[in-house]
Symmetry: D2
Subunit: 359 residues, 4 copies
C-alpha cells in the first residue's frame, strides 16, 4: 500500500534498486498536452548518479521510455506509463546486508513489517525509487507551466553548516544549475562542494536543506481542511527518503515573532491584491493566495558511511557493519529535481481539484 500519490493527478510507482525496472503510471493527466521522452529525460539526468564528482559514481543512464498514454505526440487522457530499466546493478556489493541491518536505513523496519526484505541495494527503500517520481513530476511541471503559467524552482540552501539566504525575486534556474551543488550563490556553492568532498574523504556524510519556490500559482489552490496545500506539500516532502523536516513561510523561526510582526498586510494595486510581506509562504487557510509559495525541506546526512558501525544481524545478535559500494556523501544536490517533482505533483493535483469544484 501507499505507492500511489494524489487524488486527481495520480502517480503510482513500482520498482526496486536491483529489480527489472523502475517505473510509474500517471492516471488523470489531462488530454492534449504535447509530451515526449525529451520532456522527461533532462529531469532524470539532473537526478541520476554519476552526474558530478560529488555524486555516487554508480553508472546508470536512467533512460526513460514512455509505454502508453500518448498518440501522435500528445497525451490522450489515458494512463501514461514511463519506465527505466536497471542496468548497473551489483548485488554482490550488498551481500553483507543480507545478514545485517544497516543503521538508520530501512532494512530493519522492512523486515519487521513484511518478514521478508529485498536486501539488494535497499530494494524498494532505495533512492532509485524516486526515478518514477521525477518522471511523473516532469509531466506535471509541463502541465502546470502550459496550462497555468506555474514555475517551480528548488535549490540548495544549506549543506551541513553552510547556509545561504536567497532573494526569491532574483533566483533563476540558470544560476541554480551553474554549479554542481545547485546552490544559487556560486561562492557558497564552492564551500559546500568542499565540505562534501571532505566528508567523503573521511568516509562520512552530510545533509542539508533545500528551498523550493513556486511562482505564478493563482490564488485558490488547496482544499480545506485536511488537504490544505501545505499539508499535501509536507506529506510529499516527508515521503522522500532522508527527509526529517518541512517548514513553509516563516516556519520554525516564525515562532519567535509576534502576530503584529508576522501578519502579512494585504495591499491592492491596479486591481491586484498582494501582501507586503510573505511570512505565510504563499498559503493562507490551506489555500494559495497568489504570492510565491516557498518552503524548506531538511535532509539528514546520508546513512551509508564507509566506517564500521554497531548493529545487529538478522539473528538479532550484536555485530558491526561497514558499508561497501558506490554511495553519495550528500544527496542534497541530486534531491533538488526530486523536490521540484513532488511539488509539481501536489500542485497538478490541486489544480485539477480546483477545476472540478471552482473552474
Amino acid at each position: 500500500m501507499g505507492n500511489t500519490f494524489g487524488h486527481m493527478f495520480r502517480t503510482t510507482t513500482w520498482g526496486e534498486s536491483h529489480g527489472g525496472s523502475i517505473g510509474v503510471v500517471i492516471d488523470g493527466c489531462p488530454p492534449g498536452l504535447e509530451l515526449s521522452e525529451n520532456d522527461i529525460q533532462p529531469e532524470l539526468d539532473r537526478r541520476r548518479p554519476g552526474q558530478s564528482k560529488i555524486a555516487s559514481p554508480r553508472k546508470e543512464t536512467d533512460t526513460v521510455h514512455i509505454h502508453s498514454g500518448l498518440f501522435e505526440g500528445k497525451t490522450t487522457g489515458t494512463p501514461i506509463c514511463m519506465m527505466v530499466m536497471n542496468t548497473d546493478a551489483r548485488p554482490e556489493a550488498y551481500s553483507e546486508m543480507s545478514k545485517k541491518f544497516r543503521p538508520s536505513h530501512a532494512d530493519f523496519t522492512y523486515t519487521m513489517k513484511y518478514g521478508i526484505r529485498n536486501w539488494q541495494g535497499g530494494g524498494r527503500a532505495s533512492a532509485r525509487e524516486t526515478i518514477g517520481r521525477v518522471a511523473a513530476g516532469a509531466v506535471a511541471k509541463k502541465f502546470l507551466a502550459q496550462r497555468f503559467g506555474i514555475d517551480i524552482l528548488a535549490y540548495v540552501r544549506q549543506i551541513h553548516k553552510i547556509i545561504v539566504e536567497i532573494d526569491p525575486e532574483q533566483v533563476n534556474r540558470e544560476i541554480v544549475e551553474s554549479n554542481i551543488a545547485r546552490c544559487p550563490e556560486p561562492n557558497k556553492a564552492d564551500e559546500m562542494i568542499s565540505v562534501i568532498e571532505r566528508v567523503r574523504s573521511e568516509g562520512n556524510s552530510v545533509g542539508g536543506v533545500i528551498e523550493c519556490l513556486t511562482r505564478g500559482a493563482p490564488a485558490g489552490l488547496g482544499e480545506p481542511v485536511f488537504d490544505k496545500l501545505e499539508a499535501d506539500l509536507a506529506k510529499a516532502m516527508l515521503s522522500l527518503p532522508a527527509t526529517k523536516g518541512f517548514e513553509i513561510g516563516s516556519g520554525f523561526s516564525g515562532v519567535t515573532m509576534t502576530g503584529a510582526e508576522h501578519n502579512d498586510p494585504f495591499r491592492s494595486k491596479n486591481g491586484r491584491v498582494y501582501t507586503e510581506s510573505n511570512f505565510s509562504g504563499g498559503v493562507q487557510g490551506g489555500i494559495s493566495n497568489g504570492q510565491p509559495i516557498f518552503f524548506r525541506v531538511a535532509f539528514k546526512p546520508v546513512a551509508t558511511i564507509m566506517r564500521e558501525q554497531k548493529t545487529v544481524d538478522t539473528d538479532l545478535r550484536n555485530t558491526t557493519i561497514t558499508a561497501k559500494g558506490r554511495h553519495d556523501p550528500c544527496v542534497v544536490p541530486r534531491a533538488v529535481p526530486i523536490v521540484e517533482a513532488m511539488t509539481a505533483l501536489v500542485l497538478a493535483d490541486h489544480a485539477l481539484r480546483w477545476k472540478a469544484q471552482c473552474g
Copy 2:
C-alpha cells in the same frame, strides 16, 4: 473536498464556527470497542475555549453527543457520528469581516477560491473545526491504547522564545496537565504564561512549538513509499490551523550533524532490538522501528490581534481593520490535545493497514 482523513480509519468532519453544529463521522473503527461520551468529553474539555485565563473567553461547553455506531456501549463497526452544537456564537462581532479580509487569515483565499465566504467567525476556517478532529482522535486513542498498548503524549516545548528540553523517559500526562501552559517544566510554564499575558495586554499574540511523543508503538507501522508514517504525520500536522512546520527526530538540526553522528546504532538485548540513539525519531524508511516516535510542530503567532492593521476590502480597496471579539493570544496550549488527536488518527489508520497486509 479534503474533509476526510485516513484510508482505513477514516474521519470526515463538517461544520462552521457559527453554523448549527460541528461534527465528525468515523468510518472504519473496529467493532467491540467500549465507548461512550465519557471517553470523548475530557479531550474536548482540554481543547475548549474559556478553560483558563490564557485562552479565549468564548463560552462554549462543547458538549458532545454520539449519534450512531454504538450498541450497548460498544462500537459495532458502523459509522460513529459525534456532534457538538454551537451555542455562544456572536456573528455581530464579525460584521466588519464581511467587508474586509483579515491579514494572514483565510478570508481572502476562501473568497478567491469559492467566490463566497461564510465570514461569521471564520466559517469553516475557524479553529472550531478541530472539535471533530479531537472527538475522532479520542476514539482513535482508546483503540490504540486497548488494542496495541500505544500511548500518545504531547506538550508545549516552546512559547515565543522560551524553550524547554524534555526528557522523553520522564515526561508524563500528569505533569503536562499540571499547568495551563501544558509545559512539562512548571518553572518554564510560568514564564510562558507571563509572556502570553503580556502580549495579550498589548493586543498582540505569540506562537510556539508542540512536541509529541508516542510510546509503545510496535515496529512495522507505516507504508512505503508515499504513505510513510512521517509523511502522514506531517500532513496531519500541517493540516492544522496556524501550523508552519514539522520535524521528526533530529529534524532541521540534524542537518548540522554528520552521518557518523546521526546514525542510530542498533543493539540487541534479551532478544529485543533497540537503537542507542533516536535521531530517527522512531521511524526508518517510513516505518516505525519500535523506539519512541517523536516530532515537533511549529505554530505561528495567532493572526487575530487587537491592533489596527493594513488590509483590503472586498472591493479590493486599501483600508485598515481592527479585530474585535474574544480571541486567544496564543493557541498553543489548547492545541496540545489537537496534536495528540491527529497523531492518533494517523496511527490508528496505519495500525489497520498493518493488520490488513501483515497481520
Copy 3:
C-alpha cells in the same frame, strides 16, 4: 468501512434505524448553488414510510435539517451536513430479533462479520439508512439540473409479474407521481397496487423492477476503464438494500440479439450526432454518448413477511421466527426516489471529474 460514495462529489452516511439520527455529509459540492431544506424535504417525503396505503405505516416525518455548508442560502464549497432525527422507533417490536436471525436479512452476516449487531430495526442494515442517500441525491439533482441541464426520472416498470413498457420520449414526472405505485401507466399501476395489497393480506411480499432514465446528459461523462459510467451506476444500484440485478440498455435481453441488430447506427443532423437506436443505453466504452441513459434495477421481494419461517438462533440452534412490526409488503414504489438519488450521485461525481480533466 464503505460508508462513503464517490470520488469528487463524496457522500458519507451514518445512522441506524433506531439510533439518534440518520445523516449525511456531502464533501465536494461546488459553491454558489442555492440550497435549502425545501430542496431536500420533498425527496424525503417521496421516500418516507406512511406515505400511502401500500407502504409501511411507521410514522416518521423524516424532517431534515441542514447543519453546515450553506451561507445566505448558497453552498460555500464546504461540507454539507444534513440530518434526520429518528422519532417513531419501537425497539420492543424487535426483541425476538435479538436472539434469532431473520432469513434473508443481514442479521446473520453482521453477526459473523462484527461479532456484535444492533438488532433494533435492523440497525445499520435498515432501509432507513437510505435517508442520507436521498438527501444527498437531492443536492446532486439540483446541481446537475442547474449546471448541466440533466434530468433524472425513475419509475416502477414491474411489480411481481405485472410489467409495463415505457416510451422514454413520453414519460414525465407528473404521470409517475400520479399514482402510489409510481408506475407511469395508470391502468397497470392499479393492477400493481392490487397485487401489493393481496400479498400484504397474505402476510407475504413481492419485488419489482425500477427503470431509470437520464435525459440531457452531455457526451463525455464516465472514466475508462474501471470507473465506467455503467460500472459506477451498477455499484450504486447494487449497494441499495434488496437489489439483485442491474442492466443497462439492452441488458440481458441484448444477449439474444446479433451484432447487426444490436449496434446503434450513428447519424448526424444539423451538426448534432445521435444514434438511431439506443441498445447501448446511452453509454459506450464507459462514457455517455449524449443519448438518454437508461437502466433497470431488480428488487427482490421484501424479506420481512408475517409468516413463520425456519431459522437459527444466536446459539446456532434450529428454530422458527415470525415477524412483527410495521413493514412494507413491497419497497419498490418507495425505492423510486432512492434510485434517482443514487443516479444523481454517480452523475454529479462524473460531471466533476469531467470538469477536472476535460473542462
Copy 4:
C-alpha cells in the same frame, strides 16, 4: 482517471491495443506469497486471441514479465508490476477508423470526452486492456486460494439463445476447460460453437452470459453500506468491455417470486449454519454468508461486424463503415478468465478489509 481498482488490494492498469506495452501494478498484495510468471501465464493463455477456431486469429503470445515486487520467489509487500509487450499490431487495418466512428464502439465517446483518440485498434478501449486485469487476478486468485481456501470458477451459461442450467455442486474447472466454448455441458457447448461459427461466416456476431461461482468464501466479506460485496462485484463486471448486465442469486427472475418463496431459511447442522436455498447468491446485507457466491454477467454481441454499417465521420457527416481486421465473433468464451480475475480482485480487496477491521 479510473484506472485503479480496489481499496486495499489495488490494481492499476495501463496500455493501449497498439502501444508499447500493456501492464499492471498491484499495490497491497501481502508479503510472503510464492509467485512467478508460471502463476500468471496460464491465465493469460486462457484469455489470449488465437487460442481456438472461434477466437480472433490475432497472433499474440501475450508473454508476461514480472518487473518488481518479488524477492527469491516470494512477494515482498511492495508493488508487483507485470507487463506484456504488444507484438502483432497492425495499425494499417484501422486506418478507416481514424476518420469514422465505429457504431457501438468507444470511438465517438472518447473523441467527445478527450478531443483526441488513439484510433489504432481501439486504443485504451480495446479488450487488450483486460490483460492487466487477468494478470492481477491471477495473483489475487493465488492469494485467496492459499490464505482463505477460496475458489473462483466461471463458465459460459448462454450464447445467443442457447442456455444451460448448471448445478453448482457438480461443476468443476476440468469440465469447463474441456471445450473451447467454456461451457460445462459438452453437448450444449457444441451447439454454442456452431452458432458462433455460423455468425462469423455471416460477418455477424453474438453475445452471451457468463456465470461465476465462488466457493469456500467465509462469512463476513463485504462492507456496508456502499461497498457491499455485490455492489463491488457489479462494478467490476460492468467495468468490463461489452457487458450490459449483472445479477446475483435470483437476480431479475427473483422479481417474480414472493418473499415466502424467495427467503433462504437458515439451518444449523453440527454447529455450522447454512441456508436451505440460495436465492441470495451467497450475500446478505452486502456481506458474504458462507454459502457459494454466484452471479451472472450479460455480454452484448461484439460490436465489430464484417458488414457495412451506417455511421458518421469525424467531420460529423453521415457515411458508412465496414470493419476490417481480425476479430472475435463472440468474446464470451475468452471472457471467462476475465470474469474470474475481476471476481478475485474484488474478493482479495474485501478479504484484506475484513482482516483490517475484524481479523
